[in-house]
Each structure stands twice: as structure tokens, then as C-alpha cells.
């Protein structure tokens, strides 16, 4: 009986879910999923969430990305209050969206707004893969479309950071058609001669890679990012063989002519700044 008291403790040992393992816990230390080095989270953050040991780019939340990209204090968010509706009455969809809002403190899988990069005013959209895998449903499509329209109104460039598993299944054809909607908005941007830079981060797949994310005037990816149309498992099942490790990585795409550059997170802000400056010439000292 005394033994029972002691053994009880074991019963409640917490086993982190797959999801929790991937994210950096709010502890002191973390382990790089790539090289397995154990490091201080504080140090990792200081290094823009890039592993000092192997250069692995850890995932960023949307706001971490905005902090790293825009000039300090310049960000003004658009359409903060939009949340998912449930047009198909899909089982558990609204509950799961609510859980993700709770977990991520985000209202949806994309944050849009405007700010400056090295002084150049820019409209920006950043996806967050923690929210429903960064999938694109009506809200994501609408926020991106509105952001593009804001860029057109303000004669500004548009930068989109993609991080998404693709179209959101729970909104069915509504999600599918967001691919057409965002692409059609980019056509309007093109007609005005405005710049669109697409930054593909880990992961960018399915309906997002097959729409706006591939349509940049300049397409840039972060090192090691998974980018592709079809899921790895589907391809392996179709061809009945194992795929090479580097298949669908940013480097693989660069090699096959699908990207302009692969840029490390340490150089990304500067690269974007330079591209913007080249497209928005300084006139009389004012940008």
C-alpha cells in the first residue's frame, strides 16, 4: 500500500505531444531538432532563432518575424479582429480555431499590416504555422487580399512571409478559391507596377505554394525551408520509393531554378531593405 503512494507519481508523468516538442518550451534550455545541441533559449533568441551550432532556422511566430523585419515601432496592424466562420458546418472546426487562438494568441494564421524597412514604407503579411498549420481559409485569403489593396492604395511594395501547410480543408472550396482570390489581387498589384517580394519560410506547401507564395517578382526562401506542391508522403506512395533528404528544400528549389535566392535570417532584413531601396529610389533625401 505504501508502494502505491510512491508509484502514483509515475502515473502522472507528462509526455509532451509532437506539437509541443517542436516548439520552444518556455523553459531555460532547448535542443536543436537538427543537430541536437542543447542551448539557452535566450541565446537562441539573440541569434534570431538560428542554431549557433548548425544554422538550423527555428520557426518564428508572426510577431517575432515582424520584430525582426520591420523598423522598430513602425508596425501598424490591419484587420486584427477577423476570425474564421464555419461555412460548411464542419465538425469541430470552430472549437479547434478557438483552441488555436488561445494557444497562439493570434486570431488567425496570418498577421497583416504596414511599417517601414530601413525607412521604406511597406505593406507586409506574415503567416504563422502554429495556427491550424498556417492553412489558408477565408480569413487568410481576405486579409492578404486587403493587404494587397492597401499596398495599391498607398503605392507601396508588398512583402509576404509564407508559412503554411496549404488550403484549409475545413472550409472546402471556399479555401480552394482563396488561391484564385489572392492571385487575382496580385494581378491588380502587377497592373500598377508595384513590387511583390515573396519570402518562403518553413513550411510552404500545397495551395499556398501553388498560389501567391510562388508569384513574387522576387522569390526568396530561408535555408532548409520545406517548399513544395505535393506532400512528401503522397509522392512516396505514388512512386513507391524513398525520396532524397534534400527533396523540396529551399536549396533543392534554388538548384532547380524555382527561387531567386536562399537568404539566411541574419541577412534577410538587409536583403529586403536593399531590394526595396532599388525599387523606391530616394528623391531629395526623402523616400
Amino acid at each position: 500500500m505504501l508502494r502505491d503512494i510512491f508509484s502514483k507519481k509515475k502515473k502522472y508523468a507528462t509526455i509532451p505531444s509532437e506539437q509541443a516538442k517542436q516548439e520552444v518550451p518556455e523553459g531555460l534550455m532547448t535542443k536543436c531538432p537538427n543537430c541536437k545541441t542543447i542551448m539557452y533559449i535566450k541565446e537562441l533568441r539573440k541569434n534570431k532563432m538560428v542554431c549557433e551550432g548548425c544554422g538550423y532556422h527555428h520557426r518564428l511566430s508572426a510577431y517575432e518575424r515582424i520584430d525582426l523585419t520591420l523598423d522598430e515601432g513602425s508596425f501598424q496592424e490591419f484587420d486584427v479582429d477577423m476570425i474564421a466562420k464555419d461555412p460548411l458546418q464542419f465538425p469541430d472546426y470552430l472549437e479547434k480555431s478557438a483552441q488555436d487562438r488561445e494557444k497562439t494568441k493570434l486570431n488567425e494564421a496570418v498577421v497583416t499590416g504596414e511599417g517601414t524597412i530601413q525607412g521604406v514604407p511597406t505593406v507586409i503579411g506574415v503567416m504563422d504555422a502554429r495556427f491550424r498549420m498556417g492553412s489558408m481559409g477565408s480569413v487568410v485569403g481576405e486579409k492578404i487580399t486587403r493587404a494587397i489593396e492597401k499596398a495599391i492604395e498607398g503605392d507601396k511594395s508588398f512583402i509576404m512571409f509564407a508559412a503554411s501547410g496549404g488550403a484549409r480543408m475545413q472550409e472546402g472550396v471556399f479555401s480552394l478559391l482563396q488561391m484564385a482570390k489572392t492571385s487575382a489581387a496580385l494581378n491588380q498589384l502587377n497592373e500598377r507596377g508595384l513590387l511583390f517580394i515573396s519570402v518562403l519560410t518553413h513550411p510552404t506547401t500545397g495551395g499556398v505554394s501553388a498560389s501567391f507564395a510562388s508569384l513574387g517578382d522576387i522569390n526568396i526562401a530561408e535555408p532548409g525551408a520545406l517548399i513544395g506542391f505535393a506532400g512528401r508522403r503522397i509522392i512516396e506512395q505514388t512512386i513507391r520509393q524513398k525520396l532524397p533528404d534534400d527533396f523540396q528544400t529551399a536549396e533543392f528549389l534554388l538548384e532547380h531554378g524555382q527561387l531567386d535566392q536562399v537568404v539566411s535570417r541574419h541577412q534577410l532584413r538587409e536583403t529586403l531593405g536593399t531590394i526595396l531601396e532599388l525599387h523606391h529610389p530616394v528623391k531629395g533625401g526623402e523616400v
Partner: protein, 325 residues
């Protein structure tokens, strides 16, 4: 019968019985016309009951029917002087997409569509109607050509999806689809799209950014196949029937949701029962929409197309405190 679907069994059984009785009448000279008449009216009722109340999964089966008419079947019946054009000028000629020029009621048009095979040999040649990037690039080349010569474009959609393979990834399947979406959005000529079979995800949408989107009554349009959805949702691909209902992929469902412009009625039992008649039904919709779109100026056409897609989406707003950073 090889082309019989499981839910059609009672119809086929009754039909067999009637033909047996007819043979019997002819051979033995015994008059059974009263009996036959009774059975025929029962058959009529049975067909009405079964085909008039198809559930989503039954429609999926009709959409996938091996005898279902394909793009080339409709091209043959709806257009004159059709000339098929090949190749994307970049890599190759994808046989999963056919395209070319012809006349629709005298007017020169460009026609493009996914092309399945009807038997294994043809399906292998056509990759089961699943295009590679060069297929989409061929389609885009023909669309740009149509724009240059101010020809309306008619697209037939019929694919399980874009090819998922190593080569497709290497040659930029994502880019090929995305490029069609943005380019179609900006074309200065009318675009009419008809989903004739399966409209599988991005691979279907890449021919689907049109001014009018119609679906045949028993066709489907979906973001993921019912099998794929079931595997993801319930970890069980055999629950595809349930997924077909949940996902709202049939023409009646999508019409009700306001996502398509019209549903083209099908021959009872499915388009394969009478391809000529089915082509006639499609002709009505093409004629009407081309007439309407022909009256719109080039610039308005693009603007209206943009607004059409811009308005698609259902959103809510948070009430109460807003969750920010």
C-alpha cells in the same frame, strides 16, 4: 454490366428482367405485353427514385465513371474545325491537357481541358488526367494566344489533381499552377469554365479562374479528395462517403453555397448515358454566357472577374476584447 455502379443494381436487374421477357415474347410467341408494360412503368419510377435522390458519394461515383464523357468527347460535339495544338515550348507536350482552336456556333474560340483516358493504355499515356507543369504551361500559352487574337476561352475541368511526383516538383508544379491563376485573372477575353467530371483541388483550379464557372450536375469540385479528407480527418480512407457529404463537393451543394454560377442538368443516370444530349445541355450554357460576356468591355471584364473572386469567403469578427500580441 461493367459500367454498373452498386447503387444502380436494382435498376439494372429490372432492366434485365424486362429484356428477358421481351426475348421470351419474341421467341415463344406468348404475349406478355401487359406484364412488360407494368415492369417498364416500375422501372421508370425506380429510376426517378434512385437518380432523383443521389447522395454526394453516389455523385462522386458517377463523376468518376469509366465511361464518363471527357473533354475530347465534348469538343467533338460542340465545336467545328477543331485543331489541337501541342506543347508548352519549354519542355514537352503534356497529354493530360488538350487544347486548341475551333468554332463555337461560328465564332472562333480557344478550347482547353483536362483529358483522362478511357482505358488503362490511354490513361497511362494521359497520366490519368493529372497534368505536369508543362500541361499548365501549354494551357497558359494557348490562353495568351487567345487573348492576342481576342478569342473567348472555354475550359473543361476534369482531373483528380495535378501530378504529384518528383519531376513535377523539379519543374515547378506550384509555380505553374500559381502562374495560371494570376494570368487568368488578368486576361482581356471572356473565360467560361465547365467542370465536367472531377475538379480536384489546385490542379483543377489552374484552368478555373473564369468569368463563369459551371458544373455538370454530377461533377465534383473539391479542395481535397474525399479519400484524402477521410484519411486526414478520421485516419480512415474508407470513410470517404462521409467526407463527400461533409466537404460539400457536389454541384448542388456548391450552387447553394454560391460558389458556382450554374449547374448544368445531366441526363438521368449520368452524362455517359447520352453524350450527344449532354453536349446539347452544355451548349445552352456556353451560348448564353458567351453572349453575355461578349457585351462587356475588356477592362470591365477583368475588373468584374477580380470582384467575383474577391467576394468569395466567409468571415467573422471577434466580439469583445481583441486578442493581440
Amino acid at each position: 454490366m461493367a459500367d454498373q455502379l452498386s447503387f444502380e443494381k436494382p435498376i439494372f436487374e429490372l432492366r434485365n428482367k424486362i429484356s428477358e421477357l421481351k426475348t421470351f415474347t419474341a421467341e415463344k410467341g406468348i404475349d406478355l405485353s401487359g406484364e412488360i408494360e407494368k415492369l417498364e412503368s416500375r422501372l421508370e419510377q425506380l429510376e426517378k427514385d434512385i437518380y432523383g435522390n443521389l447522395n454526394p458519394w453516389e455523385r462522386v461515383q458517377i463523376a468518376r465513371h469509366s465511361k464518363r464523357p471527357t473533354t475530347l468527347d465534348y469538343i467533338e460535339r460542340l465545336f467545328t474545325d477543331f485543331l489541337e495544338f501541342h506543347g508548352d515550348r519549354l519542355y514537352g507536350d503534356d497529354k493530360a491537357i488538350v487544347g486548341g482552336i475551333g468554332r463555337f456556333q461560328g465564332q472562333a474560340v480557344t478550347i482547353i481541358g483536362h483529358q483522362r483516358g478511357k482505358d488503362t493504355k490511354e490513361n497511362i499515356k494521359r497520366n490519368f488526367g493529372m497534368p505536369h507543369p508543362e500541361g499548365y504551361r501549354k494551357a497558359l500559352r494557348l490562353m495568351k494566344q487567345a487573348e492576342k487574337f481576342k478569342r473567348p476561352i472555354i475550359c473543361f475541368i476534369d482531373t483528380k489533381g495535378a501530378d504529384p511526383g518528383i519531376e513535377s516538383e523539379e519543374r515547378g508544379q506550384s509555380e505553374a499552377i500559381a502562374r495560371n491563376l494570376i494570368e487568368m485573372a488578368g486576361l482581356h477575353v471572356p473565360i467560361v469554365c465547365v467542370v465536367i467530371g472531377e475538379g480536384g483541388s489546385g490542379g483543377a483550379l489552374a484552368l478555373g479562374v473564369g468569368d463563369r464557372i459551371y458544373m455538370l450536375e454530377n461533377s465534383t469540385y473539391s479542395v481535397i479528395s474525399p479519400e484524402g479528407a477521410a484519411a486526414l480527418l478520421w485516419k480512415d480512407a474508407s470513410l470517404a462517403k462521409r467526407a463527400a457529404e461533409t466537404m460539400k463537393i457536389t454541384a448542388p451543394d456548391l450552387l447553394e453555397l454560391g460558389l458556382i454560377d450554374g449547374m448544368i442538368p445531366e441526363i438521368r443516370g449520368g452524362a455517359h448515358r447520352d453524350v450527344d444530349q449532354q453536349a446539347n445541355e452544355i451548349r445552352v450554357y456556353l451560348e448564353k454566357s458567351l453572349k453575355e460576356l461578349g457585351n462587356i468591355s475588356e477592362l470591365d471584364l477583368v475588373q468584374k472577374r477580380y470582384e467575383k473572386f474577391k467576394n468569395i469567403g466567409e468571415i467573422n469578427h471577434v466580439s469583445g476584447p481583441i486578442a493581440v500580441k
